[in-house]
Amino acid sequence: MSEMWINMGPQHPMTHGLWNLRVRIEGEVILDVDPEMGYLHRGIEKISEDRHYNEVITLMDRTCYVAGLAWEHLYMLAAEEALHIRPPERAQYLRVLCEEFQRIASHLMWYAAFVQDIGLMSPFLYGMRDRDLILDLFQSYTGARMTYEYMRAGGVRNDLPPGFTDRARKVLDWLLPRFHEYDQLCLGSDIFHKRCDGLGKLSAEECIRHGVTGPMLRSAGRKRDLRRDRPYAVYDQLDFEVAVADGADVTGRYLVRMEEMRQSVRILYQVLDWLDRHPGPVMADQLPRWLGAPYAPVGREGYLLKRNYPKGVGFSAIEEPHGEALAYVVNEGGEHPYRVKFRSPVFANLAASRHYLVGYRVADIPPIMGSVDVCVGEVDR
């Protein structure tokens, strides 16, 4: 067979989203790839310039729809810095609770999609089933399954409902043995190793050259985790390990994500204990009134008060489930943020796709791209 270009996408079962992977192949060997993005470009950065600070949270949930709370956290850290607000400690613990639960949910979603890519059918259902348990927990205190709008400048919207921590512990107790089952289903199978070992190799140096972060970088043995390296919120008070693997391949990424879920469970037990012992406010007191958070409606006079508010720049970086996410918020004293810039980890991971896809076979594309965990919402924004 001679060379040809094939389009994998925008409607293709491999993509898990709306993007197009153009592949040049000869026979079944990949010669070149060219991802084509932008099918889900909704202009979130532009709309943010047209919204009040707390209204941007709505967009954050939809930026990465499998890790909405993590993106809320990211934006809130930057916006609070730009607005010179500091949330109370309990709110920070609640945000860590959200982020870690979201990490498990996102990784379970990844697991469900990834195993389907290599043809394993039933674990898709198992992953979705266990993810639903976490979404139930989210629903019990934020009111929604996927788009939460839970965090606010200055804290979080509401405290946990009574009995939440016990329910959460029950879910965590259920989840831990499930991870073992997942491992048995995947790592216990010879075919899984045949499909995944040594695929999609990208060494640590290459990762850094091309801006690849998150589980892909950690699977190459580099221990970079912003929760550990540059602790934000209350991560410096929590005890956990950074999951790493060697091999820099698909199996390595699988191992890293599985280990991360276990570490998240470990973090969550600590956070739940802390939350049980330390009741307190979840919103900062002296909030500027024009923020309208959490309950007061934003009136016309509120914006007048805004005039003399100090300008500022906010910068935050968190370890999102997919990697290093970064927000840059410019507060120029107006009602709306002057400029909001987000850095999506998947954006950079996808940009490097040429370096981990070329030379493999067409049949290897689904496992490799599955191990990248593409979330198009945050790539296109």
Partner: protein, 376 residues
Amino acid sequence: MASATLYSVSYDLSHLLLGGIASVFPDPLRAWISNGNVITGLAVLIFAALLLAASMLNTILLIWWERKLLGRFMDRRGAMHVGYAGLLQNFADGFKLFRKTTVQPREADALGFFTGPTAYMVTSMILFGVLPISSGWNSGALPLSLLLALAIFSFAPLFIFVSAWSSNNKYSLMGGMRSAAQMIAYEVPLLLAVVAVVIVAGSFDLTTIVYEQQNYWFWGPLFVALVVFVAGMLAEMERIPFDLPEAEAELVEGWNTEYGGMLFAFFMLADYLRSLIGSILVVLLFLGGWTMPSWVPSAATSFPLAGIFWFMLKTYLVFAVFVWIRAALPRVRTDQLLRVGWNRMIPLSLLAVFLAAALVTVKCVPVFGCLPSPGI
């Protein structure tokens, strides 16, 4: 067999019909109509119609069986809404596909595009003509029925490739090529595994092979052959872990990407027909067909249509194993599949043949007992 055979039923029916018709005609015509050959001919036709209906019904039931089983493996329920426990779901699917417009892509080759699926379907259906279902319940007691069955079975890659190539789609083409390569690679070990059975049974006739398993079923002494046969069958049926030609993750829907409507229904039906035939062959060759071991109480084997009952039960259980494999295993890659096929399966199947030859030489195995006849 105490009960009536399918032959006698259809023969009686034919006799009745033709006798009724003949009685209104004057003598020379009546004599011609009530001639034995004409009655036999009509009996064969009735028989074929019955067989076709039975095979279609079983295939549709098999799809239901797979959907429900897969659902249970995946912690859900499968089709529930249409009919009792979703029994009518596949009929709904079939009628719907029948009504849908068949879209022929502009650049597609019309001849291949339409004949491919039809021929695939027809060759799969013909197979039912040679497979015995119970004693006396087969259309043709051919002395070489096993060989004929496998020969027809191996037509499929040709038609798949034709339909894939003529639909003028890159994914279809890749799926078709994979399918052809895979089926050819697994044809050889499959046939060698069958050779092992034939050596022990001493016949190519499926009915004889079943009756050779009176003392012990062949799955025990010919376990290696069974493993090779099941693996080869999985590849021939294109089921996980060998479902590369329609690997959903990379090749959209594989070689039937461009097919919709009735032609897609043909593919779907033919796939499951082949699955059914694969399960039936496993039962016939290794699990004693419709016979049961002697320790089974005679009440369980002597009620009317007992042979068919046990036969269908075994077939559906074998298919359940295939579904179980589908629920539990990932898909392999083309080159790995071919490498396993040529490097592992063929030596294994040669070993199976060797073991079979040894079994025939020794004649008696301590655990299993003796062969009923001296073999070849």
